[in-house]
Symmetry: C2
Subunit: 288 residues, 2 copies
């Protein structure tokens, strides 16, 4: 049984140190999947497994995943997991996975003819969510989960948006970050131009109650919903460049009581549900 200082376990070190993990994962091209269900989804999506760190009771349920990993399976007790990662891992199994190349925005929007990880060809998406500079990994993961569940077919990230493959994003998404393809813009300033050129109607979600209610927007064939960062919302540039500003109508009584906004995940959920309505006469194509 390896101990805390074993260099083979370096991939799992200090999982709660966000800054350390960000630079380390970028440098080594890895990410961490936590818990049986999420590990299985990452494997099914085609991400290669570097190694698995688990407590003895998870060896049997994960036997098929571990098969073929040879000496890259580390079975240790709870105290060792906690010693290495820096916290008690309730789900008892962690996998270090290889990242794969992320498509360009242009390629994502034109469909992925040779497949995103683990999938066959993907049709050109018609409902897209664009995240501008979200900082909270949990929010990014939660929005991927909503988006995937509600028929959004792809996600575009601004250059500075938090990483969907960071451990907490992956965990909160319940693996939805593997189920929905995404790309990262190379350029924030001109980022929306590429969406427009691909024929997307761009809808900027804002708390401003003078904007069009999301349920009343006349939607085009291809729609991109723009969501801004937790504190400040969308940048003034993106708000100005979008085709239309849209809002979620709030209760006037709530505004009086000082409850004057939704958090970004709740707002994203309602807005994605609204996008689905827009496509309901002509249901989204399934990937095949």
């Amino acid at each position: 049984m390896p101990d805390i200082a074993d260099p083979r376990l370096a991939d799992y070190a200090n999982l709660r140190d966000v800054e350390l993990r960000k630079s380390m994962e970028a440098e080594h091209g890895l990410f961490i999947a936590e818990g049986e269900k999420v590990i299985r989804r990452a494997v099914a999506a085609g991400y290669p497994v570097r190694s698995v760190l688990l407590t003895p009771r998870w060896a049997e349920p994960l036997a098929d995943v571990l098969d073929g990993l040879g000496d890259r399976v580390y079975v240790v007790d709870d105290a060792v997991v906690e010693g290495i990662t820096g916290f008690p891992v309730h789900r008892g199994a962690l996998a270090a996975m290889e990242r794969l190349p992320v498509p360009t925005v242009a390629r994502l929007l034109s469909g992925l003819p040779d497949g995103s990880p683990g999938e066959g060809p993907v049709a050109p998406p018609r409902r897209v969510v664009v995240l501008e500079d979200l900082v909270d990994h949990g929010n990014v993961g939660a929005i991927f989960r909503c988006a995937a569940a509600l028929g959004v077919e792809a996600v575009v990230l601004s250059p500075r948006c938090a990483d969907p493959l960071y451990r907490r994003s992956v965990k909160v998404s319940m693996g939805a970050v593997f189920a929905i393809p995404y790309a990262r813009m190379a350029d924030w300033y001109g980022g929306l131009a590429e969406l427009r050129e691909a024929g997307f109607q761009t809808l900027a979600l804002t708390p401003d109650q003078s904007a069009t209610p999301i349920d009343r927007v006349a939607m085009a064939e291809r729609v991109a919903l723009l969501l801004g960062s937790e504190g400040d919302g969308l940048s003034s540039r993106w708000l100005r460049e979008a085709d239309e500003a849209v809002c979620i109508p709030m209760s006037p009584a709530a505004m009086d009581l000082g409850v004057d906004s939704l958090n970004v995940v709740a707002a994203a959920a309602i807005a994605c549900h609204g996008l689905m309505r827009g496509g309901s006469a002509d249901p989204p194509r399934r990937r095949g």
Copy 2:
């Protein structure tokens, strides 16, 4: 400046020890509000302040709140706050507040003629959310925030549902737990009968896609939306007793990809938005 062992600071001890805090807060009838904005909302809602623990830089912004508290204002440095509470308090100010009596369900549903904390008379609510056995304080707080923002006028809690005044609930709600009145059922088994007797149509939210889509429900004058716990959803008893099961339509493609549910906050947000639509021809009465 008081030190860590000062008995006057016992209200703030070990804020991350959930079990300890639950029994201690119940016994002493207190709760903790964190950060200037939330403290102000608690005070405005009429909750009496027991004491305030803050770092020096917050004394000036909170001067009006501190006025009249006399020697119940404890100005200490960051290290002392962290030593007492067990974690670094980024918002720099904590208030220990007195709890107030929670109305009965019957009284909540008939309006609160002599006022909930800090408010004038409250009209009988027409849109109510009922939470069955949620365990996560963050989810309870987030649902209060959504509910308040989207025109829900009251919340009913099952006997075992997590406490809206627990520190994390209050924080995640951004103070919405003070803005929307709530009551706790004395009895789970017969809990829905009281809602029906008050004339509420009870809608049970379920992931079951054969239920009525939330946007297509014919809504009565008074509607209660039932939300179940994070893992298991609603109990079979409540599902069976409800007037109608309702769902949020999911993308068939997402189901294929294994993303087969929304988290309870996202689902609550979409459903509360749907309730608002039901009332849109006849907007909710404002309190006053």
